[in-house]
Symmetry: C2
Subunit: 212 residues, 2 copies
């Protein structure tokens, strides 16, 4: 994957600021290669070992381009989080709130326990704890995800599956929170039973009117 | 505080391994000074700027002592977490589960929004994401806290306030998780309303049998 995205004909000083080339053109390819190299570096070395020169080399992109477009390692992490939000999957639509929230919990579980994505999330959480730009980008990522998944609660409210006035984002947060707590805070194992319990508990709370 | 704990008569090579001096004696004073300097460095500079020599100097303790007893910056963070667990407050006993869980949520809220403890928690969460020794120490800290607060659920179960078979630690995790999610993951503001909602939701879920 990293080899495939390598851009051998890199010309660091060519005009490549956003808007000067067509979407999907050179600018997009450079961004994809640099963000892939950033992700790889986060997985293998973590946030604090991020090095702009090594990332440029791994992406096959000129250093000048990387410094000009991303500025710093935290700029790379922030743009990776924007890309993750852009690329993220649409919310489920299974026909029931229970089914949709279960799909959400399973997606969070699969992501955090994935041998590649788990370390990326550890790294971006650490980056956010150390740097304001990364914190804002992490906030932006979850704002996008909460907005997207809030739609399943809005649909459920229209079907009468939750009390009127239920805050959609609060219910979605309640499903994710126990999984992230084990993953990043109490550092406990994360299993299917945890995902299941998170959904059951969040739904029971919603039905009792806890998110109004 | 830092000045008070300064040990001017430090002798780096004196025998100070645990057990060789009385509790509360020189060993304990050295530990208190070094951990206080570590905490201060985490607040002002964050985990990745931790520097053993600067911490030794700030604590007024010889470098040799600090290197011999803590080994590395991650060893300092791990011992700070052990100390935080040892020093942490006993669980509330207000007479009702609602009151006890509310006290727990308010304690978590007060800690995470405290101008001094908030940054310490950001730093130890980042440290855990970067280092296995710190991750194990953070796990140990929350294991201690969960064990302590599980007692309020055990007492409530004896009073019949939650269904028989409710997992005490799961209920306590459910109160903390939404607060930590906002603090370290979605990076959203954390207010009294969030603490209140966390308790209401966790109790409703417990009463519906979600933690059996």
């Amino acid at each position: 994957m990293k080899q495939e995205s390598r851009l051998s004909a890199d010309a660091p000083d060519s005009p490549d600021s956003p808007g000067t080339v067509r979407p999907g053109g050179r600018t997009a390819k450079v961004r994809a290669a640099v963000l892939e190299a950033t992700r790889e570096a986060l997985v293998t070395q973590g946030f604090h070992a991020l090095n702009m020169d090594r990332i440029a080399a791994a992406a096959g992109v000129g250093k000048t381009t990387v410094y000009r477009r991303w500025g710093s390692a935290t700029g790379l992490v922030a743009d990776l989080l924007r890309d993750m939000a852009e690329q993220s999957l649409p919310a489920a639509d299974t026909g029931s709130l229970d089914g949709d929230l279960r799909a959400n919990a399973e997606l969070v579980l699969a992501t955090l326990t994935d041998p590649r994505m788990g370390p990326v999330f550890q790294a971006v959480i650490a980056a956010a704890a150390c740097d304001e730009q990364c914190a804002a980008a992490l906030h932006g990522f979850y704002a996008t995800r909460l907005r997207e998944w809030a739609r399943v609660v809005e649909r459920a409210a229209a079907r009468g599956e939750v009390p009127a006035g239920t805050d959609p984002a609060e219910l979605v947060r309640a499903v994710s929170a126990p999984l992230y707590y084990r993953f990043a805070i109490s550092r406990e194992p994360l299993t299917g039973a945890d995902a299941e319990r998170a959904v059951t508990a969040a739904l029971a709370a919603a039905r009792a009117g806890a998110f109004i």
